[in-house]
């Protein structure tokens, strides 16, 4: 027994060391190999940045189409997911009770647990189904991908909103009704603004999730080359898919370097988003806990 006691502290240090060095090695390798490729040419290829940004000319050798594709995709899916997710979260926190709440909660947990590729498979099958039975013009495309991604992040938004509202201290919750406000007025003018930071943090997390996901978009319309997306019903490129594609199919060291650069960019975006989300959440926690 004494031995275990003696060992546990060094053991925990060892664990931390192992984990940190493993991740450090992986990320370090990425940066060492890829830092040299981070320049404007990586993103814009042979085209002048201003021309590309104003969509005057197409970029073929750069990440620009993939970055724009990811941007539009994330924007679309989050704007679909936010109204539904936040509303459902409000419902769960404020209106639902008893059995309904338990049942809904179960379903949302299940939705949260579904692997992303199953959501992608679902999106793909819906697209083909619609293609057969509704309109020949529907096929896996940007819109279908955005919808599938929205389904993927919906549970995160619902949970974030629900938790944010539920952990508000009782005195805040009861003040407005005590002054004669209706339920809605209470929610809209008091509760939501108080929990806004948490909801925003959940939103940012969802943005990060949408930006990094590869499995869903692989099955629902992302392709190796498509230029800047020109329509909701068309194919598009995306950053995570580009990384996956390059990793297995690079034709020369140039392309491999681009892959490293893309990986670094995606890493920075996602880690950045997550950090912002955590930062906001922490600020809220302090604020809520230390309310006078």
């Amino acid at each position: 027994m004494r031995i275990i006691e003696k060992c546990i502290i060094p053991f925990s240090w060892l664990c931390a060391l192992i984990l940190l060095s493993a991740v450090g090695c992986l990320m370090g390798y990425l940066f060492i190999k890829g830092l040299s490729s981070l320049n404007l040419a990586l993103i814009f290829g042979n085209v002048k940045p201003l021309d590309a940004l104003l969509f005057r000319r197409q970029v073929f050798d750069g990440l620009f189409p993939a970055i724009i594709g990811t941007l539009i995709l994330v924007l679309l899916s989050v704007s679909i997911a936010i109204p539904i997710g936040v509303s459902a979260g409000i419902y769960m926190a404020e209106y639902a009770t008893g059995r309904i709440k338990k049942i809904f909660s179960l379903f949302f947990d299940i939705l949260a647990g579904i692997p992303s590729i199953v959501v992608g498979l679902f999106g793909f099958s819906v697209a083909v189904f619609l293609h057969h039975y509704v309109s020949k013009r529907i096929y896996p495309c940007l819109l279908i991908s955005a919808l599938s991604l929205a389904f993927l992040v919906l549970p995160y938004l619902i949970r974030a909103t629900q938790v944010a509202l539920e952990t508000l201290p009782n005195n805040i919750r009861k003040t407005a009704p005590a002054l004669g406000a209706t339920r809605f007025q209470n929610i809209f003018y008091v509760l939501i603004p108080q929990s806004l930071a948490s909801i925003i943090s959940g939103t940012i997390l969802s943005i990060g999730r949408c930006a990094e996901d590869t499995a869903v978009i692989m099955l629902t319309g992302v392709v190796a080359m498509a230029g800047v997306p020109q329509s909701l019903f068309g194919h598009y490129e995306a950053l995570p898919f580009y990384i996956y594609y390059i990793s297995s199919q690079y034709t020369d060291s140039n392309e491999l370097m681009k892959g490293y650069g893309a990986a670094i960019i995606l890493l920075m975006i996602c880690v950045g988003l997550f950090s912002v989300a955590f930062f906001i959440k922490r600020r809220v926690r302090q604020y809520v806990l230390y309310q006078p």
Binding site: R56, R57, Q58, F60, V128, H131, H132, K136, Y139, P140, V223, A224, M225, A226, G227, Q230, S231, G234, H235, Y236, S248, Q249, Y250, T251
Partner: protein, 264 residues
């Protein structure tokens, strides 16, 4: 870069049909075709930004299926569509280049020649070590393609004589993926489109014949196949123009630039 600049000036006429008009062309299927498709699309889109050409991979099986279902406009395949497929989907096939399928190993591997029997033994898993071929005493890592692959069909049919491919083989999803897998594995063996073979992998002579372009051209290397672009019914509009472009002087020049044998 310079060569393509000169070439594009010389062959400028072929791109003229794309100058006006707009629309999209969706292409998917064989991964061997992708370099040619990408180059052609790049030239067309640079000329006329209102045209959008999207290119996906997926393998020959995917290309045929998707064009048949109407999900894409052009489905590329590295094998001829079967009669059943042609009949079911009403496919029109366009063969614009010839390609071979060659066995490749890592450049560090000293094994350069293999007999057909030896190949069959390796891929079926009977022979497990490089030692018996005169190589180092290490296990042979077999790489194969996914089932939708036309390259795989041709290899299995013509090089392996429909022999067994071991279930333990690592599966990669495209010609490019096969190339990088072999380039990274000193003890690997796989098969890839002859047009894709470059410095990063080293071709193996099958029964004494290297899978080079000349050998495919003069029929010495038997494991050859055509590169097809298929459409559902007769192509029209932008799709038709694209297919015609593939057969034009400029298109054929792109094909030979990328390592294939143009049909014209």
């Amino acid at each position: 870069m310079f060569v393509s600049l000169i070439a594009s000036i010389l062959y400028a006429g072929d791109l003229d049909t794309f100058k006006n008009g707009e629309g999209t062309v969706k292409i998917s299927g064989g991964t061997a075709h992708i370099p040619v498709m990408k180059e052609a699309a790049k030239r067309i889109m640079q000329l006329n930004p209102d045209i959008q050409i999207s290119i996906a991979g997926g393998g020959s099986g995917a290309g045929i299926k998707q064009v048949g279902e109407g999900l894409v406009d052009i489905g590329n395949s590295g094998r001829k569509a079967t009669d059943e497929e042609i009949h079911k989907y009403g496919l029109k096939m366009f063969n614009w280049a010839i390609d071979g399928v060659g066995v490749v190993v890592n450049p560090k591997n000293s094994v350069k020649v293999i007999s057909k029997e030896g190949l069959k033994d390796i891929f079926s898993g009977k022979v497990k070590s490089w030692k018996s071929l005169g190589g180092p005493d290490k296990n042979i890592n077999v790489y194969t393609r996914d089932e939708a692959s036309g390259t795989r069909e041709v290899f299995w049919g013509k090089a392996l004589d429909k022999g067994k491919i071991t279930a333990k083989a690592n599966v990669v999803v495209s010609n490019g993926a096969m190339k990088s897998a072999i380039a990274n594995d000193p003890y690997g063996i796989g098969y890839v489109s002859a047009g894709h073979i470059d410095m990063s992998v080293s071709p193996v002579a099958l029964d004494g014949v290297l899978p080079s372009l000349e050998n495919v051209k003069n029929d010495k290397y038997k494991v050859a196949r055509g590169l097809y672009s298929n459409t559902k019914g007769e192509p029209s509009g932008l799709t038709k123009k694209f297919i015609e472009y593939l057969f034009s002087a400029e298109g054929q020049q792109i094909a030979s630039q990328k390592g294939f044998i143009p049909v014209k």
